[in-house]
Amino acid sequence: MHIMEGFLPWQWCAIWWIIAIPFLVMGVIELRSLMRKDREYLPLLGVCGAFIFILSALKLPSVTGSCSHPTGTGLSTTCFGVFITSIVGAIVLLFQALVLAHGGLSVLGANMCSMAIGGPVAGYIIYRLLKNTKVNIYVTVFIVAVVADLVTYIITSLELALAYPAQVGGIAASFTAFFAIFAITQIPLAIVEGCVLTLVFKYVIELKPEMIIKLKVFSEDQITKARGASDAIPSEVKS
């Protein structure tokens, strides 16, 4: 989903940076207050961040005959919300911009807006919509992960379409073209990513249900119910 360095006019680079900065500031504020409250959240943040690191390093081949990588931001969005996720995503993107030449410093704002902000925002909206419904919490996490992944690529397409409207058909035509490159490739990857992140979430609530309850990610009832469905299995883990 990276827009490569130099491929975005500087005006657009500036606009996306300006949009991104408030999210980063909020992220730092939230992160500091979270750490002051309880250091025990740090390992969970580590897991969420680790998944963004791992998944965004995997360039997977897709049905369209090109490769793309999952984003892994869904888990962090579910557990910590948009702002903290934007910080973790920004760190990964900064690493890739500095040493891998995937993305770059001028386009970092645009890449953050898609992967570290836009995807998580969309995922978070879905999470809020489904949170207090009867929908199984694993289904919720799955959909959040898939949506966060797909929307990342939709926003990348939009960023490029706005900067490079087609001569015939304008922004809409060029959006369709970029959408075909980025988003269609991404659909199967997003589904696999959703499954993997949901599985990790299951292990988190098996080991640390109290943390998810304390963060008010899901209610105690929902967690107990989800654990009840899976609790019979791990007799070796339970003992």
Partner: protein, 102 residues
């Protein structure tokens, strides 16, 4: 037993389906499996009528000299994530073991 491992099973099926689709697509041999970033940049060049090389970086950046070096750096990135992941789950499992002994 199977019911309780439903999520693991679904994930396994999804991954297998993904691999099978990949194998059947790649068997045709008509695709290059280039990165979508590269394909996207190619599209920009096409839309603007300029060549890909005519987009110099706005801010100079380090570019890995070869695909091998790049692969190493990506592997490092993933390994870093993996280490953290193993560390935390190990820490939690250990915590739980201690608390169940009390």
């Amino acid at each position: 037993m199977i019911k309780n491992r439903k999520l693991e099973l679904i994930t396994l099926v999804a991954v297998l389906a993904f691999i099978i689709v990949f194998l059947s697509v790649s068997a045709e041999g008509t695709h290059e499996f280039a990165g979508s970033d590269t394909v996207g940049s190619g599209k920009i060049a096409e839309l603007t009528g300029l060549s890909v090389d005519s987009f110099p970086p706005l801010i100079p950046q380090y570019v890995p000299p070869s695909g091998e070096v790049e692969a190493t750096l990506f592997a490092l990135q993933a390994a870093f994530g993996g280490v953290i992941l193993g560390l935390v789950f190990g820490y939690w499992l250990g915590q739980r073991k201690i608390s169940s002994h009390l």
